[in-house]
């Protein structure tokens, strides 16, 4: 009698080009899987996919919206890549985004009806500082008290959300706003300049692009970047090499907090223009998908953020034109991640089928 045994072995030689091609493969598999889902729902799969992925960006407004949506995702994911590369699991970017938004928004309210070119830079800077301060909590607790940063950073998301709730309901609510949970609309001087009339794409995109460039510079051209990568690959090696592990943890959390804070301040001074309870549709969590889909690589993250942003827009157009539930967007995001992780597994491990006789066992 024969029994099939499965043995999983680590592959030693993983080709670099295939490593960067698997996200593309994951996207194609997602399109294929999505097509099947649409077919089961009773739609022409090609047409449905066209409404999902082409229609939203078939005009300038759509393209601008894609960038509006991708800007915060890209920025946060870039920041997270520093943490993830060095084995620091910052899951609370959403909280850092919200806290950055709170600090930046507070400054914007302070400068209400105040003109001057310096207003916006101060707000942006304070948003970044807010993000940094909030990211420092899990970082310091991890370095000095050995706590788990996943738990601490995740739980702090709720703290930030509740703090925002408290502020917009109470002390910061619009005095002319009938107690509705929102602040005043910020003055013009506190708003991100719009790049093209009629479109919503704003100057925040430059912050993102500059950050991407700086990230590439730090990660690939500096000693710090080298340290981050080495610690990510092997903490022991990093220790033997004499890298200051604690300082590095603080630095990567600072960078990722600053990016999340900037994303938050970009949202409230950009498309939203005020503080209320819904300043982020979970950008901080979605950015985790973006970071991994982009292989923690600055250029990869740009593409990943555009694709994930497109799944949001696509879900809206698909509902408008086909009336499929909006949650298909989340299904697509889930499928992309699933196929990526699945193909990664097959990339790093091989599965061997061993046919064995029973008496050999």
């Amino acid at each position: 009698m024969e029994v099939q045994l499965i043995k999983i072995e680590k592959r030693n030689d993983v080709s670099r080009s295939i490593y960067f091609l698997t996200p593309v493969l994951a996207i194609f598999l997602t399109l294929f899987g999505g097509g099947i889902i649409f077919y089961i729902l009773g739609f022409n799969p090609i047409e449905a996919l066209k409404f999902f992925f082409i229609t939203p960006i078939s005009d300038l407004y759509g393209l601008s919206e894609l960038l509006v949506k991708a800007t915060p995702l890209c920025l946060i994911a870039i920041g997270l890549s520093f943490c993830f590369k060095s084995n620091n699991w910052n899951i609370g970017a959403e909280g850092q985004l919200i806290f950055g938004g709170i600090v930046g928004g507070g400054v914007a309210l302070l400068f209400y009806n105040h003109d001057g070119f310096y207003v916006l830079p101060i707000i942006i800077l304070s948003g970044a500082i807010g993000g940094i301060l909030f990211a420092m909590i899990p970082a310091i607790l991890k370095t000095y008290f050995n706590t788990n940063e996943i738990l601490v950073s995740l739980m702090l998301v709720y703290v930030a959300k509740l703090l925002l709730d408290y502020l917009v309901v109470g002390p910061w609510s619009n005095p002319e706003g009938f107690n509705f949970p929102e602040t005043r609309q910020f003055s013009e001087s506190a708003r991100m300049p719009i790049l093209f009339g009629g479109l919503r794409i704003h100057a925040g995109i430059f912050i993102t692009l500059i950050t991407v460039f700086l990230t590439w510079l730090i990660l690939y051209k500096t000693y710090l970047g080298f340290q981050i990568k080495v610690s990510g690959l092997s903490l022991k090696t990093a220790k033997y090499a004499g890298y200051k592990g604690k300082t590095m943890i603080i630095i990567v959390f600072m960078i990722s907090g600053a990016c999340a804070g900037l994303a938050g301040v970009g949202e409230i001074t950009g498309p939203i223009g005020q503080l209320h309870r819904n300043i982020s549709p979970d950008y901080g969590f979605t950015a985790i998908i973006v970071a991994f889909l982009g292989r923690l690589n600055p250029v990869g993250i740009i593409f990943a953020s555009l694709i994930v942003a497109l799944t949001y827009l696509g879900a809206e157009t698909a509902q408008i034109f086909l009336q499929v539930p909006k949650y298909t967007g989340q299904v697509f995001q889930g499928m992309i991640l699933f196929f990526l992780l699945g193909s990664d597994y097959l990339l790093f491990f091989k599965i061997k089928f061993l046919g064995l006789k029973k008496n050999e066992l």
């Binding site: 078939s58 005009d59 300038l60 407004y61 759509g62 919206e65 509006v68 709730d165 309901v169 109470g170 009938f178 107690n179 509705f180 949970p181 929102e182 609309q185 009629g198 919503r200 949202e267 950009g270 498309p271 939203i272 223009g273 005020q274 209320h276 309870r277 819904n278 300043i279 982020s280 549709p281 949001y312 827009l313 809206e316 157009t317 509902q319 408008i320 034109f321 009336q323 539930p325 909006k326 949650y327």
Partner: protein, 354 residues
């Protein structure tokens, strides 16, 4: 030359984008804040949409649209893809609706529960839910044994304060010893928080649970604890068949039908609508027979009087918590006062969160 080319290319792309989507057929769009299956707020708006669709008018909806940066894009996409009338059914869509309305003067916009009509193509509408609260107060005052009414409130906006006051006034009229205890949950929909609030109120001695939130959690808690409750937005009877005395139903269907026909026929005009029991925008679910036929008759009579205008939810004398007079004897509160209401009446416990 290059610049000219670029510019014409951009405008050509723009026109292409618009013309692809331009469509002659009359269409109505709806933007929902929740899923259509929430059995509360969005569910009822969706029912209203179904009534419009039943007329043979083409409709589209987008559900679970966050009240942040995404709302403007969704509203704009509906306007751009040839919808002639767009209902935005949550307060948080107020600024995005007005912003998009400015760029699409030929499209009509209807914003629920807001107060900004910045352009002539924006109307606002809401319901006089407080009339339903008056009926609830009457029933609560008669049914309570502990003289304590538990009230789960969402946000301290005038609409919610008005409901609390209307209910308390009506309950006091039939039972002067009544006390209203309030828990603020600062959310419209959070089954977890809502059920905790319901439990806390029951623990404090409330034997009537009322909610100004949208989930069915509070009535289910009340059912388990064996106290009375009232449903919100839609008929929630099947979630707590023993406990629910009735539900206040938001019936948007007649309004949506009327406005859709007006927009289609070109008679649509900007307006601020505030309809109640009279017009049917506020309706009551069947009354629980456990109340007894006498009480049901009383409530039905009061419902008729409120609808006909013979009775008013805010008839003087009305005092605030400190005993200052708000509405003089024999007078009724005007709509201006109701719209901006931000004080509790006598008999409500606690302070309005600021």
């Amino acid at each position: 030359m290059y610049k000219l080319f670029l510019r014409s290319l951009i405008s050509a792309l723009f026109l292409l984008g618009f013309s692809i989507n331009a469509n002659a057929e009359f269409k109505v769009g709806f933007v929902y804040v929740g899923p259509t299956g929430d059995h509360g707020w969005t569910y009822q708006h969706h029912e209203g949409r179904n009534a419009v669709e039943a007329l043979g008018i083409k409709t589209t909806y987008v559900e679970s649209v966050p009240e942040g940066a995404d709302a403007e894009r969704v509203i704009r996409q509906l306007a751009q893809s040839g919808h002639d009338l767009i209902f935005t059914t949550s307060f948080g869509y107020m600024d995005p609706t007005n912003k998009v309305a400015k760029d699409f003067p030929n499209v009509k916009f209807e914003h629920a529960t807001g107060y900004k009509r910045e352009h002539s193509n924006v109307s606002t509408y809401s319901a006089r839910f407080y009339e339903g609260r008056t009926l609830l107060g009457h029933m609560a005052g008669k049914m309570t044994k502990t003289n304590t009414i538990g009230y789960i409130a969402s946000f301290p906006i005038p609409e919610v304060i008005r409901g609390i006051n209307a209910m308390t006034l009506a309950a006091q009229k039939v039972n002067p010893d009544i006390k209203t205890k309030i828990v603020w949950v600062f959310t419209w929909y959070d089954p977890g928080k809502e059920s905790e609030a319901a439990q806390a109120l029951i623990d404090q001695g409330a034997d009537i649970i009322m909610q100004h939130t949208d989930s069915t959690a509070p009535v289910q808690v009340a059912e388990k604890a064996g106290v009375w409750s009232f449903g919100q937005a839609s008929d929630m009877q099947r979630f707590a068949p023993k406990s629910i005395l009735t539900s206040i139903i938001d019936d948007w269907a007649p309004y949506y039908v009327e406005r859709s026909i007006a927009a289609r026929d070109g008679t649509w005009k900007q307006q601020d609508t505030w309809h109640g029991l009279k017009e049917g925008m506020v309706a009551m679910a069947p009354y629980n027979s456990a109340m007894g036929s006498d009480l049901i008759k009383e409530v039905e009579q009061l419902q008729k009087d409120l609808a006909s205008g013979k009775a008013h939810s805010f008839t003087g004398p009305i005092y605030d918590q400190k005993g200052n007079i708000l509405v003089a004897e024999g007078a009724v509160a005007d709509d201006g006062m109701l719209a901006g209401m931000n004080v509790y009446v006598k008999g409500v416990e606690g302070d309005i969160p600021q």
